[in-house]
Point group: C2
Chain length 457, copies 2
């Protein structure tokens, strides 16, 4: 046997794409097949994501569905959608037959309503069809929406030898055997076994004598983020899913959780940056505008609010026009502090590391704001006094306003995410432009109010 | 056998903590042991994270090291450090003996330099000690720093029956058998097998006849983020680590990758929010200040820069003081657009979904900025004209400046991360206050320059 190992460092080059496009143009099907055969399905998906739609469809139709079903799963959602539009219901059903039930259900859920039924009724395997229908009924944010029906289960009454024989049959459908679930005659989950346990046991032992009764599980209605937390905390690679009666319904594997974590991180990151979730750099200008403009409009209204405040004070403070020069400083500082505070709370809430009283946390944030505020004021004071030659009272105004604004921005940034979380709203929406804008307005208002008190205009 | 399943919904209540504290105070060791025995080690870690230092040390010394080693691994890094300070080198060595080599090396790496040697020389098992020493030599950001030495390997010359016999021995040390690696006599990786394959094969077959020669692997020097990408892309649950000669050195499992992904996401999120990485909400005010103040100072210098610009123009534009009211609008918009653009690029770079020419991308961002800018200008124009009663030319100034500033902020936000990435710098540092501050200054400067041209002061 050869010593050649799979070459994992796949690189998508222009030459490679040109070669594929040329082979398609020449309709050299045989050569194209042989060429693509060398690649992993995840790499073929990367190639297809870069080809134009017709070429991608051409390749999907050319390769056998054992490969193309995996390729489709790995493709970018938007590109997959376009390819599926060019396949008949029967063709899609054949792809789906090759997929695990969870992936199959995901693909069907993406189809337009009217095509779903056509595709489902074209799935030849009756069991597979029934299982996919069951999965489609669950909310996609729940354990039910994430689980697959494929799993290896044994009844407590079986022997080790009987088990091994039957597992060979079941395991064919299961890509990876993480755990073997032990159930009663009524399909209730009562424990688990590992392949290792089975191999080590004597062949005439009964499953009921050797199984491990402590098994982690989640309810089918559990939120996927909660499932991800449980699996990460307890280092699980798979977890069984049960209903309220503990009936074994399916299992969730860690690779699905990796996807959930990545999507969750991307979503929070985009929200913090002021982008409605679910866009990528390669989306159309229309889609990107739809995701970005709403947040810019929030910022715009904030800016107009600030303009109103400034205009209101401008008429009464003619002597102190210099105050206006420091508006950007106040505004930028308030915005930065608010985002820092809210980000750290949002992250703490996501990791369950925020405990204790809300008042304690606010007091800590108050102290933190005070320390940071005084540090910044200490730099700004000499700069404004010597470089900008502001009168004493104006310098004092700027510095007192800075400290006050930093403290208040820190408190607002801390309070809002905790408040939203308690109300059941995703606290991540409170970060980004939302916090920045409210802090901008508050900051500028506080600045002028303090100026009014100190300078007495 | 009972039908009782492990109760996964652990909740850390005040009553629970008080009970533990009371048992410690009363020195009811036996009762405490029985009580804690019911909990998963990850739950015990959560309890210890909330206890004060002495109590946590008390429990670590009370329970057997099979449990406490896992508990220590799951604890918060800061708390673990404090507990380890209270254990002798011998006690730490005993904990480490129970851990997998990768976890053991991580814990030792956290110790102060002078304690490391004492702990290592106290590890009784010579093989374990040598393996840990080997792992400590690798950079923590490389595959070598992440891998464990525990794995199941077989030689190509063995038979299936001999294999199964020997695997029973090796598998004892390995928590989960993902893959069985096939090596030559010289320990070179040539393929893999699954337990499933072994069970299905005839017992007198040779490994060299049944192994799968296509196996993914990574080099020991590979960056961990790259390893995470490879494992996520190819849906791998474990990957072998080799040196340049393909000698099998260790393996990385998906649960370590889950941790890498979470840390990476946290780091990027914090950078975007202007927090130096590696702080948590529960850290001290000093640590939090150290993480936050530098970014606020960047913002502060930006604000002072803006003050200089405004003061410079103020003297020549007395007639148009109204322009100053719109400074916050310009500033906020520039900041928001910049963060949006940079975040989407940073994310695209992280997911490898940014392809094609940099000029194409900048042109797209230019169009996007134009569309968003015109949309916002269309709202601001009537508002400024009717509500703020600004003269025609001032309204025009504000709107032209808005569109220009949005376009330029979008271009800067796109260009800087791509530029940094090409230079080998983590593009995530370019998000947050850094981008916001530079856009603030540029934005305000552009605003006044346009005003100068249009209004001619």
């Amino acid at each position: 046997m050869s010593e050649e190992l799979e070459h994992i460092q796949f690189e998508l080059t222009d030459e490679l794409l040109e070669k594929v496009e040329l082979l398609i143009e020449q309709k050299s099907d045989k050569e194209l097949k042989i060429f693509l055969d060398d690649f992993h399905y995840a790499d073929i998906a990367e190639i297809l994501d870069e080809l134009d739609q017709e070429d991608a469809v051409y390749i999907i139709k050319l390769l056998d569905s054992e490969t193309t079903s995996d390729v489709l799963m790995e493709m970018d959602e938007d590109n997959r959608e376009k390819v599926l539009e060019n396949l008949s219901a029967k063709e899609i059903a054949n792809e789906i037959l090759e997929l695990d039930t969870d992936d199959a259900a995901d693909i069907i859920a993406e189809l337009p309503e009217e095509r779903r039924h056509a595709v489902i009724s074209n799935i030849d395997d009756e069991d597979h069809r029934a299982e996919i229908k069951e999965l489609l009924a669950y909310d996609e944010d729940t354990a039910g929406g994430l689980m697959a029906k494929e799993l290896v289960k044994v009844y407590e009454t079986w022997t080790v030898a009987g088990c091994l024989r039957r597992i060979r049959g079941q395991a064919k459908d299961v890509t990876r055997v993480h755990s073997i679930y032990v159930v009663t005659k009524k399909e209730k989950l009562i424990g688990r076994l590992s392949l290792k346990d089975l191999i080590v046991a004597k062949s005439d032992q009964k499953i009921s004598d050797i199984y491990i009764s402590s098994v982690d599980y989640v309810n089918v209605e559990e939120n996927v983020e909660e499932v991800a937390k449980i699996m990460a905390k307890y280092d699980l690679e798979a977890i069984p899913v049960v209903d309220d009666e503990k009936t074994l319904l399916g299992r969730i594997t860690i690779d699905d959780i990796v996807d959930v974590l990545r999507e969750e991180a991307d979503k929070d990151y985009q929200l913090a940056a002021g982008i409605t979730n679910d866009v990528e750099a390669d989306d159309s200008i229309f889609e990107l505008t739809r995701a970005r403009l709403p947040w810019l409009l929030i910022g715009m209204f904030g800016g107009l609010g600030a303009a109103t405040i400034i205009t209101g004070f401008q008429t009464v403070m003619e002597k102190y026009v210099i105050l206006l020069s420091f508006v950007p400083l106040i505004q930028a500082t308030a915005g930065n502090v608010g985002v820092q505070s809210s980000a750290i709370v949002v992250q703490g809430l996501a990791n369950d590391s925020i405990k204790g009283e809300i008042l304690t946390r606010l007091f800590k944030e108050f102290l933190l704001g005070l320390v940071n505020g005084l540090a910044i004021a200490l730099v700004v004071l000499p700069v404004s006094h010597f470089l900008f030659e502001t009168p004493y009272l104006v310098s004092a105004t700027i510095c007192i306003a800075l400290v006050t604004v930093i403290v208040i921005a820190a408190l607002i940034g801390t309070f809002i995410p905790i408040f939203l979380d308690k109300k059941g709203v995703d606290p991540a929406v409170a970060t980004g432009p939302f916090i920045t804008t409210s802090n901008d307005i508050f900051g500028i208002l506080i600045y002028f109010l303090i100026a009014k008190v100190i300078l007495g205009f």
